[in-house]
Symmetry: none
Subunit: 273 residues, 2 copies
């Protein structure tokens, strides 16, 4: 809940163009990343897409539909699977659900209901997942650890407060992009910024202070006059000079966070400058 703005990723495997058209329109409104496939792609590829859920029509899966469904369910236990198919019998629906599908919707159906059901499935999945979903994020000497609500430099904590940490995390996740004050405030504080509020500036200052104290030699946060701030680690010394204190590989103190690859929500898309 706190980490909002998490975009959901969905694949639709179907051949019913009318259904797809209507559904994708709704998905765009809802802000889902989605991809339409007309043939059953190998489970491996589904894995690579890092999906949250998949909607599929048994009719589009060809003759080996049940095999395919079983393989996908077995291979991606964390994936939300919603079958949206034409006429079906109770036995078929029960079979799919037992195989591991999360829901079955009969066509014709209202796209809004499809989305609501997908969301229900994903919601349930989110809750059950251990909170190790977000891997540590590193930048220059910095190691940002969402699991600890804290940032480290060569193993030493920067002693950030909650707000400071969330601000840093937000900026770092948008690496390279300029974020406007209003947007920052909105996402860290959770509500709209009052006119004339300087909180963001004050926190940027505190953050810079702690960053410099723990990692002198680097500048992390840049100011864009009249706009906002941008995170982008920049060495203050010539490249080859970092003689001592190299030890760049941030030693993971111990918490064995699984080496989750960082799932980039959206491809970097620079906000105009």
């Amino acid at each position: 809940m706190s980490t909002q703005a998490e975009t959901n990723r969905l694949a639709v495997i179907d051949t019913d163009s009318g259904f797809i058209t209507v559904l994708t329109k709704r998905l765009e409104v809802a802000g889902w990343h989605h991809r339409v496939l007309s043939t059953p792609v190998p489970p491996d590829e589904l894995v690579a897409m890092k999906l949250n859920a998949v909607v599929l029509d048994m009719a589009a899966l060809g003759p080996d539909a049940w095999d395919y469904l079983e393989r996908v369910c077995g291979m991606l236990p964390e994936l939300g699977i919603v079958v949206c198919s034409g006429r079906s019998t109770v036995a078929q629906r029960v079979r799919a659900l037992r195989l591991g599908a999360d829901d079955w919707i009969g066509k014709p159906c209202h796209p809004e209901e499809v989305i609501a059901r997908i969301e229900a499935v994903v919601r349930r999945r989110r809750r059950s997942r251990v909170q190790s979903d977000v891997g540590p994020l590193t930048a220059a000497e910095l190691e940002i650890r969402p699991d600890q609500f804290q940032a480290f430099v060569s193993g030493r904590s920067l002693e950030l407060t909650r707000r400071e940490f969330e601000l840093l995390q937000l900026l770092a996740e948008a690496k390279g992009n300029v974020l406007e004050r209003e947007a920052i405030y909105q996402r860290v504080w959770g509500y709209s910024m009052a006119h004339g509020d300087r909180s963001v500036d004050v926190f940027v200052r505190k953050l810079r202070q702690k960053l410099e104290r723990g990692s002198p030699g680097w500048r992390y946060i840049h100011t864009h006059f009249g706009i906002g701030y941008r995170f982008d680690p920049e060495s203050l010394v010539a490249d080859g000079e970092i003689a001592m204190t190299e030890a760049s590989p941030p030693a993971t103190p111990e918490g064995g966070a699984p080496g989750e690859e960082q799932m980039t929500p959206a491809a970097g898309e620079p906000t105009a400058s």
Copy 2:
């Protein structure tokens, strides 16, 4: 799938005797513990039942059905909620799903499908708490034994109460991760924390007290201001030093009750390394 040694607990809130008869018969075959209710019991009571899921008919909930549904969903985010009702509109189904229901089935329906859908809903939840109850867990001088609902230090019990133990176990299993108060409360108490509830803090204090009494020289639970707590054993004495039991315990001579077990006069202890 795996040994279904764990029985599922389900409540059915409905007044349709025919439906209930058929459904309960199937539930018995499937080995579910179930309870039939003809009126909407207060959410508190649902909590006490320690359910995995609930099946409910909007028609049986009376005039405040939507309110009730919303309250239950908000209070028991971990509970699987399946609505099984008569004729309905898309808008109603979407509303229920958005409120937090996991599935909506229209009557009439086949009991086998109802069960399959309940199982699909519960299936996800189960994954998360799979590995929790097996082997003993040790950390520093501590030995946490789920089979006894108790923690030990060099063989001596810490005399933890049930809640204290569950809290400790939860924290220890998440070793190294910060857990937010809401998350802790939800997983130990089983339902959502009311705003302003300080129970978690109080129990953390009791736990720290007992931990310190049994294992001075170590700090186990760390506070993260504005967030929650983190379990991470930390020695209070420098590594190479011979712990002299250096006055860490402020004695507290003025004993309250005479029966106070102040044992541990000098029992050998640290020696660890």
